[in-house]
Amino acid sequence: MSVLINKNTKVIVQGITGAMGKTHAGLMKAYGTKIVAGVTPGKGGTEVDGVPVYDSVAEAVEKTDANCSVIFVPPYLCLDAALEAIDAGIPLISVITEGLPPMDAVKLHAAAEAKGVLVNGPNCPGIITPGECLIGIHPGSIYMAGRVGLISRSGTLTYEIGLGLKQAGIGLSTAVGIGGDPIIGIDQITSLKLFEADKDTDIIILVGEIGGSAEEEAADYIKEHIKKPIIGYIAGRTAPPGKRMGHAGAIISGNKGTAESKTKAFEAAGVKVAKTPSEIVDLVKAKVSVAV
């Protein structure tokens, strides 16, 4: 078991003929993900790495029964691509694209919510259920399968933790890279809910960063609803206020969105907060040995 994706997930890649789409379609396929089709309007009838390319998502879905789409199209075409996937009835969409204009993000998420479609991202590394399915740009070999759920706003930091855990002999049920934008679809609360309900997840790692109040809201949710142990981490403790730290969402505005506030909220919710990435691994190890 796992959350969101597994070995039966049938994936289409929107923007498969672009550099990014092509590379990662190949990597996902090599990992074992069922890549059933690609979509690039105007390139229908061709193939990429043995994957048939269609002109529209509707056509791809009709031909392949795909139930997941990974989007690699350029930022200004991204909203249209995502709305196309929503319209075609795809229930899970992962938007890897970075740099989506904020108003496009607003419209994308409003449309997805209205239809009950789950959107991962934008500006995210995607999701991986190690050994079963990888959507997005996670380096698959860095993770091993196991019983820890991982939720993270960051890409490489997720890999860092996945790698550290693997070196410690600990595997993941699923890693959800929720993305670094201010407005995202599948957020920390959605992911927590899924991991809480997943019988093959024992522990959850929640990696936050400065900016916004998602961690504070997650903490409130945890207090009420999550029974499984959670290890937290907040990146950006040394970030100065008012500066965008790479991610569009990683910015301290006034005195809002600080690491202190988030750490405090986590701790108040009973989340053990690690101070360094390696401490995350140590804390999980301790919990795992307790559980054993």
Binding site: P102, K107, A110, S152, S154, T156, I183, A239, G254
Partner: protein, 368 residues
């Protein structure tokens, strides 16, 4: 990218928002062209706190204006040297209001934010009203809703709503992050007039806004030197005060690395996320940029190759070491193509680790 006040106001006027009849002067001598007195001279820097810094002056005649203009053109505020002064006639103010439109995370969309008491200390005044714009779809009633929330009645409701509608047009047509009027005033003739204007164009959207394309460089004067260069090179750098230069891939990992430096007693000189899949040339430029600050004593490179090819990084580091043999380099390099990269690093004589804490501790020791 933030527009200067006079640019923001020009945009406002184009969309029908009234502003005072202003004159932009680029050299002090132009102060003699001012027709209406008393006049306000405002420095056109991008930073806040212009008034306190002496960047806003009042003049009763051309001679006074000229003297003020000379002084203002010499006045640097937080690294920002003015290239223009906006001169406006003094206006009668019956009432000051604050109004802005921006995206709010909690509402997952744009909101109208306003206060019936405009002015400088808006964040602390506490009487801020919010009207969300659901799904980013504006309708005229939203402006009226805010008007009644602010306590307006009758004709003023229509006048205020008209301003909000036009402000929305500025916001949505130009892909703004923020449009703000503070203060929006009611003048002696009971008209609403934008006395100040703040417009920030979303940087991710600038390329689909033909009118702002190519203007980015002109609007980055409030950035530090490395930040400005970084923008021009497409490198994501934030200046800090320490002496450990940081080059990393991924925003989260870069922040975590900074935090770790601090955790182990060091001080990062910068945040630099070299991005995913960086080429040798891109990394070489990033290394140059980070080390262009003279305070930097050591360069800490932390790369976890996912999309990124470690060989590209290694080659960039090798080139850097060749051209700057005395530079202090601490490198942690793991992931995609790690083994091949390790060989390059060994050949170049650059020590390397694959354990993050180890690398950070070493960098802190070198910088101390």
């Amino acid at each position: 990218m933030r527009l200067r006040e006079y640019e923001a106001k020009a945009l406002f006027r184009e969309f029908g928002i009234p502003t005072p009849q202003g004159l932009v002067i680029k050299v002090a001598e132009e102060a003699f062209n001012i027709k209406t007195f008393p006049a306000t001279l405002k420095t056109q820097v991008l930073t806040g706190g212009r008034g306190k810094a002496g960047g806003i002056q009042f003049a009763n005649n051309p001679e006074e204006a000229y003297v003020h203009a000379q002084n203002i053109f010499k006045l640097k505020i937080k690294d920002d040297m003015p290239t223009a002064i906006l001169v406006e006639p003094k206006v009668t103010i019956k009432k000051e209001i604050y109004t802005s439109i921006l995206i709010d995370r909690a509402y997952r969309g744009p909101i109208i934010m306003a206060s019936a008491e405009g002015g400088v200390e808006i964040e602390s005044s506490g009487a801020i009203e919010i009207v969300p714009i659901p799904g980013g779809q504006y309708h005229p009633f939203l402006g009226r809703k805010m008007a009644t929330k602010l306590g307006f009645k009758g004709k003023d409701v229509l006048k205020y709503a008209d301003i909000v509608q036009k402000l929305w047009n500025v916001y949505s047509t130009n892909d703004c992050d923020l449009v703000e009027i503070n203060p929006l005033i009611i003048d002696g003739d009971d008209n609403f007039v934008a006395l100040d204007g703040k417009v920030t164009i979303n940087e991710d959207s600038v390329d689909r806004q033909p009118r702002f394309q190519g203007q980015l460089a002109e609007h980055l004067t409030d950035l530090g030197e490395r930040e400005f260069k970084g923008k021009m090179l497409g490198l994501n750098i934030v200046e800090l005060e320490g002496n450990i230069g940081i080059l990393c891939n991924g925003a989260g990992l870069t922040m975590a690395t900074m935090d770790l430096v601090f955790h182990h007693g060091g001080k990062p000189s910068n945040f630099l996320d070299v991005g995913g899949g960086a080429s040798k040339a891109h990394v070489a430029r990033a290394l140059d940029l980070v080390s262009s600050d003279e305070n930097v004593k050591v360069l800490l490179v932390n790369i976890l190759g996912g999309i990124t090819d470690c060989v590209e990084i290694a080659n960039a580091l090798k080139y850097y070491k060749e051209t700057r043999p005395n530079a202090n380099l601490v490198v942690r390099l793991v992931g995609n193509n790690e083994t091949a990269a390790q060989k390059i690093m060994n050949d170049a004589g650059i020590p390397m680790t694959n354990v993050l804490d180890e690398a950070v501790k070493k960098a802190v020791a070198v910088a101390a």
